[in-house]
């Protein structure tokens, strides 16, 4: 009988039903679209943020005498558990040197590094590593070095030496010297402007530190730090440690890298990691707030439509009460109606929301997006939430209807 009541009610009041359906479908669609792109936006933003610099620094551990890391260990970074989150890394070997050019002599730092290193690791995907990838904001006037005797020089050091692209610089260290052709002048806004950057292998030879590096900068995709992520892993239980290790916190990725680099200590570069975490957290909060606001607006629209519908149907409700329907029976009819509409609204919202998410992703990020499966139950649940929230006030009104007043001849 309940089915007959609901069916006939739907068939005889198509306009009112359609309005409620539309309100629910719109709310569900917006929620689905926002939640669908929230993950994508976080991912894209995290990728964008990676261009602001490395967030993990690997140095020789103090326990190992604070000397050097081994270059031969570097490929292992691309074999760790979080290898797909590591978007790039580059090693450095530093040395104090005297630079001589055009009769001028200045002291500074010579840095050996990878610019664009083709890295092949057995069993892993081919990748290109180096400073060009992890420091894309560096402005190079000229070009990047390609040969062993080519270098780029920091703008500040170049000014002191009064040289530019095309000049030759002799780098003198204790026990040797190396002539470099300057192919670019680099502006970074930081301490790098006092350095000369040359291919790692050349600097290793110059400093007589073959196969050694001073530090490695790693750029990794990580999740924002929370209280659990900040816990000291040495105080964790086994289960906690597993959960921490399997979450891409900057600390757990650093730990992961440290394990494969002999004699190393990997630590987060907090000013980068914290800024990223705070930004992503704010972004997620905004998306969540927008979703809640959309659902709230939708619930209000449902409530308004239902109130109008209830006013129109008050004689029907009064009659049902007069012939013996109790509050539960009245509620089941109206909640049943609303839930059926919300199911249809949820399915439509899911389909519509998927299209909306696709449109936003294409417009904003110029990429496509795959709707994850969990969005379907999310759409249905958000439709139910909207329907139930929107029904509370109208249903209360319906239950307060007095048959005597409404049915009075």
């Amino acid at each position: 009988m309940l089915f007959r009541i609901l069916k006939n009610s739907f068939l005889k009041r198509p306009k009112a039903i359609f309005l409620i359906f539309l309100s629910i479908a719109m709310g569900s669609a917006v929620a689905t679209a926002f939640l669908g792109i929230a993950g994508e936006i976080s991912h894209k933003m995290a990728l964008e943020l990676r261009s602001y610099g490395a967030n993990i620094l690997i140095e020789p551990s103090a326990a190992e005498g604070g000397g050097f890391l081994r270059e031969e260990d570097l490929p292992k970074i691309k074999t760790v558990f979080w290898k797909y989150n590591i978007t790039g890394f580059t090693p450095y070997l530093f040395g104090i040197a005297e630079f001589s050019a055009g009769g001028r002599k200045e002291r500074g730092v010579v840095s050996g590094t990878w610019f664009t290193k083709q890295l092949e690791v057995p069993g892993e995907e081919f990748s290109i590593q180096g400073i060009k990838g992890i420091a894309p904001w560096w402005e190079v006037q000229g070009r990047w070095p390609e040969d062993a005797d080519e270098a780029i020089i920091g703008a500040s050091l170049a000014k002191r030496l009064n040289i530019s692209s095309g000049s030759d610089v002799t780098t003198i260290v204790r026990g040797g010297n190396q002539k470099f052709r300057i192919v670019g002048v680099v502006t970074t806004g930081g301490y790098e402007e006092e350095q000369l950057f040359a291919p790692l292998v050349t600097v290793q030879s110059l400093l007589q530190q073959q196969g050694k590096v001073s530090r490695v900068q790693v750029s990794a995709l990580t999740v924002p730090m929370d209280d659990f992520g900040k816990k000291d892993p040495t105080t964790m239980t086994k289960d906690e440690y597993e959960k921490w290790y399997c979450t891409a916190y900057v600390t757990s990725v650093a730990k992961n890298v440290e394990e494969v680099m002999a004699g190393s200590r990997a630590k987060p570069i907090w000013q980068i990691a914290s800024a990223e975490g705070a930004l992503l957290k704010k972004l997620n909060s905004v998306m969540l707030l927008l979703t809640v606001l959309a659902l709230g607006a939708s619930a209000t629209a449902v409530s308004t439509s239902l109130m109008a519908s209830m006013a129109e149907r008050s004689p029907e409700i009064a009659l049902m009460k007069a012939i013996g329907a109790d509050r539960f029976q009245i509620s089941s009819i109206f909640i049943g109606e609303t839930l059926i509409i919300s199911l249809a609204g949820g399915v439509s919202g899911y389909l519509l929301g998927g299209q909306l998410a696709e449109l936003i992703s294409r417009t904003v990020f110029n990429s496509t997006i795959a709707s994850p499966l969990w969005l379907f139950p999310t759409a249905i649940i958000s439709a139910f939430v909207v329907a139930i929230a929107g029904s509370i006030v109208p249903l209360r009104r319906a239950l307060l209807i007095e048959p005597v007043t409404v049915l009075k001849g």
């Binding site: 009988m1 309940l2 007959r4 009541i5 006939n8 009610s9 068939l11 005889k12 009041r13 004689p315 029907e316 009064a318 009659l319 049902m320 009460k321 007069a322 012939i323 013996g324 329907a325 109790d326 509050r327 539960f328 029976q329 007095e402 048959p403 005597v404 049915l407 009075k408 001849g409």
Partner: protein, 224 residues
């Protein structure tokens, strides 16, 4: 001697400062057909609403079928209405989007379990076997009222309340409805309380009470 199905003692209903029903003592034996007469605003509908559990008294006591209606909760009163009372209104209220048989089944649904065969049979008893699938808008006033009668008796109530059930009907339909009620009462043995201001309709009852300004002013037994 029959037991009283309705017993009131000092039954009063006030609406703010207005006293719609002044302290009333009334006994109605089981199976009696009681007509309630009076002018508009005399308190007759108020009495019917109180007895039917549609309204609550301001003072006094009210027992119907052995139940103290003042002690019942909102849902308790709803249960009392669906189990013990059948109500027929002047406006023959029906759910507009349900057919005649579905309107009758709705009362079954609220009572227990809908049974279409039984609902059809009830409509056949009131002479509407050919109108089962028609909606209220497709029925005449008399036919609608007969659907309401079928709906009122479908759960075998102890008490049938009519609030001017023939008020909107022509003379021919009025006679038809009254004869139907008489037949059904003879078969089902329910008690009838019929509110009317039509002397001819009141005469179908066993007893008539007259209310004026919320006070029982007179009662008389119907001859024959």
């Amino acid at each position: 001697m029959s037991e009283n199905i309705i017993e009131t003692n000092g039954l009063t209903r006030n609406y703010g400062d207005i006293c719609a029903l002044k302290p009333l003592d009334l006994q109605v034996p089981e199976g009696e057909w009681l007509s309630v007469m009076g002018h508009s605003g005399s308190g007759k509908s108020t009495l019917m609403n109180l007895v039917g559990g549609l309204d609550r008294p301001s003072a006094g006591s009210l027992r119907v079928g052995g139940k103290d209606l003042l002690a019942l909760t909102e849902d308790g009163l709803a249960r009392f209405r669906r189990e013990s009372v059948g109500i027929i209104f002047q406006q023959h209220h029906m759910v507009p989007y349900l057919t005649a048989v579905e309107n009758v089944m709705m009362a079954q649904y609220f009572h227990s379990v809908p049974d279409e065969a039984e609902a059809r049979s009830a409509l056949e008893r009131v002479g509407l076997g050919h109108r089962l699938k028609n909606r209220p808008g497709e029925l005449s006033g008399g036919e609608q009222q007969r659907v309401c009668i079928a709906r009122a008796i479908i759960n075998s109530p102890k008490l049938l309340l009519g609030d001017e059930p023939t008020g909107n009907l022509d003379h021919k339909s009025t006679i038809m409805v009254m004869e139907l009620l008489k037949e059904l009462r003879a078969e089902e043995r329910f008690t009838v309380i019929m509110v009317t201001h039509n002397q001819e309709v009141a005469a179908w009852g066993d007893r008539t009470i007259y209310l004026d300004d919320g006070v029982l002013v007179r009662e008389e037994r119907t001859a024959g």
